[in-house]
């Protein structure tokens, strides 16, 4: 009875503690969300929670004012900071103003003291770090994979040698055993003193049919493999040079929805699509410095290149000491080929995905995609020849249909106008109801070779 009672008591206690726990979790949520909404609407464009930005971080702001002995003045500061600075009753007001380079904070006369408290409560209690572990785990996994890959790379030549040695040992031991057995079983045989080679020849002769077939198969397979490997000359499929920074396209273009053209911004203006200059990286990475140590290590390389020192008070600053990032070019064409990005993207309206694949899902740095993978993508023109070869270009020029008479494209408007001067030729082109790039001169040698 006593035991039962105490068990019940214990259960009750447990239940109560769970209730308390839940209420602790839930209770401030209502307050938070109000503070959160206010923060997002009023403060977030200049103030971050845990990091100094245009203005100081909000976490601990109340404490800092209280430490300066002016805890009550923070409300006046938020409502009308210019008046507070002018009144001369606050030292901290002018100090903050000067620390942030004399840029004036907006006036928020419409906020009540309660609302300011809600915002500051929200700032003090929220923690952005809580979201990090998942990402950290993923990055860890990736790092391990990379390490494993690297080990594999270095190990190939070693395993090669070890295998070779084992193989040789086995060959000799087998033949040694055979010889001894033979010697033991038939001492009367005349050619016991024959060399290995002579014995081997005899053995081959004994099984001459099998030997012939094996030799034939071997010869043919060597020939086939040799010819096939000739086909891989100048095929760059799968080329993925290592880069100074392990840049994940999946995060930038996929998760964060950044347009390709934001970073590769000369794609519509120039022959080369362009690599982003480091100031473009800094447009976001001034604020984003990575959640995991791996990410931070990579992003610190950008900081070194841009000359950004995050430790300069209050919110980091440029030092003026820049250093270049040297990226390795991935898609290389021979010098005797002319390829122009702006032509294909502006006039041809070809999507990046046609040649570069779906970079939104690419976790590693850029790579010359295999043509099979490119053709799997929905909406792509289906091609068969290896990527970046002439056959590939020609095939696409032969398959790509263009609409030349709907006035949507200035380039083809002009072509259309010129084609109509020779109606016979124009009708001939239109016979199969479609006009391809090749019919408009896309197969002329001098289009790309000059």
């Amino acid at each position: 009875m006593k035991i039962a009672h105490s068990e019940g008591f214990r259960k009750g206690k447990l239940f109560a503690s769970i209730l308390v726990f839940i209420s602790i979790i839930l209770a401030p949520n209502g307050l938070w969300s109000q503070g959160e909404n206010l923060y997002k609407a009023k403060c977030s464009s200049c103030h971050q929670i845990e990091k100094n930005g245009t203005g100081p971080m909000l976490k601990g702001a109340r404490q800092r004012w209280a430490d300066a002995g002016e805890g009550d003045l923070i409300y006046e500061w938020v409502k009308n900071n210019a008046a507070l600075r002018g009144s001369g009753k606050s030292k901290r007001a002018n100090q903050v103003y000067n620390e942030y380079g004399g840029s004036q904070m907006q006036l928020f006369a419409d906020l009540s003291n309660d609302q300011i408290d809600q915002i500051l409560n929200y700032a003090d209690s929220s923690s952005s770090k809580a979201a990090a572990p998942g990402a950290a785990g993923a990055a860890d996994g990736k790092a391990k994979e990379d390490a494993a890959k690297e080990e594999g790379k270095g190990g190939v030549s070693k395993t090669w040698w070890i295998m070779g040695v084992i193989f040789l040992v086995i060959i000799f031991s087998v033949s040694g055993v055979r010889r001894q057995l033979k010697n033991a079983s038939s001492e009367s045989e005349p050619d016991t003193n024959a060399t290995y080679w002579q014995e081997f020849k005899l053995w081959l002769w004994k099984y001459r049919a099998a030997t012939g077939v094996t030799v034939l198969v071997l010869t043919i397979s060597v020939l086939v493999l040799g010819l096939q490997s000739l086909g891989s000359i100048n095929v760059m499929e799968g080329y993925q040079p290592s880069q100074p920074i392990s840049f994940p396209h999946s995060v930038h273009a996929g998760q964060n929805g950044i347009d390709c053209k934001y970073c590769h911004n000369s794609v519509e203006k120039s022959k080369s699509a362009g690599l982003p200059t480091v100031n473009v990286c800094m447009n976001c990475h001034k604020q984003i410095n990575g959640k995991t140590p791996e990410q931070q290590a990579q992003i610190s390389k950008i900081y070194a290149a841009a000359g950004w020192d995050p430790n300069i008070k209050p919110a980091g600053g440029y030092t003026g000491k820049t250093s270049p990032i040297v990226w390795n070019k991935v898609h290389v064409l021979p010098d005797h080929v002319y390829f122009n990005h702006s032509q294909h993207v502006v006039a041809g309206k070809i999507d990046c995905i046609q040649c570069h694949g779906d970079m939104k899902t690419m976790k590693e740095t850029a790579k010359v995609q295999k043509v099979e993978d490119l053709s799997k993508i929905e909406g792509n023109i289906k091609l068969t020849k290896p990527t970046l070869t002439m056959g590939w270009c020609i095939e696409c020029h032969g398959k790509k249909e263009v609409v030349i008479d709907d006035k949507s494209n200035a380039y083809y408007d002009e072509l259309h106008k010129r084609l109509k001067r020779d109606m016979k030729h124009y009708k001939h082109l239109k016979e199969d109801e479609k006009i391809t790039v090749s019919e408009l001169g896309g197969w002329e040698c001098s289009k790309c070779h000059y």
């Binding site: 000359i233 100048n234 447009n283």
Partner: protein, 236 residues
């Protein structure tokens, strides 16, 4: 029994050996026929000329990529002096503090708060037309949308994914009241956390995208090209 065991292990080992000996190296571009065709003396962007046919020339190795364009290499708009004037109607230098916050080194700096002065610059450098709005939309989609959002409310995918915060809402009264010149200044030199975007957009493109931002802020702007601003915060 023992013999066949040895034989089979031999075959197995040989098989393993054959498989492991063929692994591709992603760092190698593969077999090349006449490598000099890929690395010719004609200079191409980003190509490394340091190694041609196995000979390594340290002086020609790629030393510099991904640097900010040098000053004065972003061209003025055209060569027509009248057009240049339309493109550069307001000469404002970056604020002296922006040297540290926005990395504007080796530049003429102003000791005044030029951003506030730009409030007087109310005329857009590019004349309004419906085509300009269309063009501006394209630029906005590629260059601004990931942070500022499709509707200009500061909720682009960068913000909703949780990677970045603190993007202002264009449709707030106080930002609707900004002059075109101030918008130009913010895009050209950067403002707050935003960096300078003049290496990405030329002056004509900046004016064009400002037209589009106006059309997000004001319903009738896309048709009329006129701003009808009423400050709701002050009348209340």
């Amino acid at each position: 029994m023992k013999k066949s065991f040895i034989k089979y292990t031999g075959v197995l080992l040989f098989g393993l050996f054959a498989f492991t000996s063929c692994s591709s190296d992603p760092d190698s571009p593969g077999l090349e026929y006449m490598p000099d065709m890929y690395r010719s003396p004609a200079i191409e962007a980003y190509v490394d000329y340091g190694e041609v046919r196995g000979r390594i020339d340290e002086n020609k190795k790629v030393q510099l990529t991904a640097l900010t364009p040098p000053e004065f290499t972003i061209p003025f708009y055209g060569t027509d002096s009248n057009l240049v004037k339309t493109m550069l109607p307001y000469q404002h230098l970056p604020n002296a503090l922006m040297k540290n916050t926005h990395g504007l080194f080796n530049e003429r700096l102003s000791s005044q708060d030029e951003y506030t002065l730009a409030a007087a610059d109310k005329i857009n450098g590019v004349a309004f037309s419906e085509k300009v709005i269309e063009k501006g939309k394209k630029i906005y989609t590629a260059m601004c949308q990931h942070c500022h959002g499709e509707k200009g409310d500061g909720n682009g995918p960068m913000v909703t994914s949780g990677a970045y915060n603190g993007v202002p809402n264009y449709t707030e009264a106080q930002r609707m009241a900004l002059s075109d010149g101030q918008m130009f200044y913010s895009i050209y030199y950067g403002k707050g956390m935003m960096g300078a975007h003049r290496s990405l957009l030329n002056k004509e493109e900046i004016w064009t995208v400002i037209h589009y931002i106006r059309s997000i802020q004001y319903k009738d702007y896309a048709k009329t090209g006129k701003i009808a601003f009423t400050d709701t915060t002050k009348t209340k």
